[in-house]
Symmetry: C2
Subunit: 264 residues, 2 copies
């Protein structure tokens, strides 16, 4: 096939003729290269969240490969929750607006009943300001110390009970134009706002969880006794290409809820 050479030469050629690094992949299947091309289109915003991407046949013609190769590329992207296949309708860019997706990132569920059974969460922004990154914030977001960042603090309440207190840091540049009112007025998942307004889609996140006593005023905001054990959850969220785009430090009450996780 003609473009086999074209494709093979683009993503990996640079690292090929370098030095004697026998550990380099030195071989990239066609479908992986197609996957990268699709990923680039997603990243650039050619297809927006919620929209349908071209059909498998169209993509096959566009990339000059067989439909099966495109299929395998899309299969992997769907397995990573970046695309969503719907038989008979098409393949769509995944979005945080879908109900199911919400609970891939919010793991705190009520002790009784399924996730979300306590009704919609109440979100209260209690602070929001523009500041500069301290050393540890900068490291987490792959910035330099002193780079401008947005910082917000909010409380999530379920059935009237304050349950989650979160401090959130965002790099100022990609979120240019995000204001306190904008955040405060938006009632809905934050990641939906991010992807619709700033073309920043959170794809993956890492969390570090500890048990810590309530202190430093957090006990008041969560309405618990000082010293009450809380779940401390630090999250770094990444967009396509593993770029860190958000740091969260959350404190969860676990008297009526628990953090749910599936292993395997």
């Amino acid at each position: 096939m003609c473009c086999n050479m074209q494709l093979t030469s683009s993503p990996l050629a640079g690292s090929m003729g370098a030095v004697s690094a026998p550990l380099a992949p030195a071989f990239s299947p066609l479908y992986q290269q197609i996957k990268s091309l699709i990923l680039n289109s997603l990243r650039s915003g050619e297809w927006k969240p919620g929209e349908a991407i071209p059909s498998e046949m169209e993509l096959a013609l566009r990339f000059r490969v067989s439909q099966g190769t495109v299929r395998k590329a899309i299969d992997e992207l769907a397995a990573e929750n970046l695309l969503l296949r719907r038989q008979g309708k098409g393949t769509f860019v995944a979005t945080h607006a879908e109900q199911q997706v919400q609970f891939r990132f919010l793991k705190l569920v009520p002790d009784s009943g399924p996730p979300g059974s306590e009704g919609p969460a109440q979100r209260d922004i209690i602070a929001c300001r523009r500041t500069r990154a301290s050393a540890d914030i900068a490291r987490a977001l792959a910035l330099r110390t002193g780079d401008p960042v947005l910082q917000a603090r909010r409380v999530l309440s379920f059935a009237g009970t304050p349950t989650i207190l979160e401090d959130i840091w965002l790099p100022a540049v990609p979120f240019k134009g995000l204001t306190a009112e904008r955040l405060a007025n938006y009632q809905g998942p934050m990641y939906v706002l991010f992807e619709t307004e700033f073309n920043v889609r959170m794809v993956r996140a890492e969390e570090k969880i500890r048990a810590e006593p309530a202190s430093e005023g957090r006990e008041k905001l969560l309405k618990v006794e000082r010293g009450t054990p809380l779940l401390s959850v630090e999250r770094i969220a990444y967009t396509y290409q593993d770029e860190p785009m958000e740091l969260r430090r959350g404190y969860y009450r676990t008297d009526t809820h628990h953090y749910h996780n599936t292993l395997g």
Copy 2:
């Protein structure tokens, strides 16, 4: 193809002609049926953990389908970590003995350094007895109240520091012959013992995590002050077919370690 009918008739035929239940799947792809057949062989112990299963071509001949169909079935089982593909060598039954697998089930990692960098864990069984299931234990293990169970308590220490205290309940029947000495003498991951000695392979687990103060003697075993916040981790582990086979209630110190989780 001849056996298309054979296969289609076996797993689903019963529920087909029943009543007007339009919610039933009413259609099962061939590769899903092959997947079930392979799963049955795994479950029955036809191929033991660590062993190679027959090659794709052999399985294709055995099931009278094309190699591609077998491949797709194996693909899914490999994605679920039940099988392990090794190019040029074959496909193997996954085992808990592999280094990488250990940390799919133990999510507590040191604050600095990669998982396992503190050296091997020291495992001390401090109690082990045969007893009868209370109501909540029975519910978790899908048993009846009063059914015989094995209960063990152990402490895991890293670099000499007691870090995890766990109570473990197992249904007595599948673990017939498991004694206190057997457990105490075995130095290694418990799930390895289970799969090699009892043909019980843990495939999936659900965890509920809370923050709780140290009490009821746990503070002594973990050598922390009474009231110190601990991570409370309740785990139910499942074998093939989603049968619950183990209940664990663990308490984790999070002063030098944290629970690590990936979302996405």
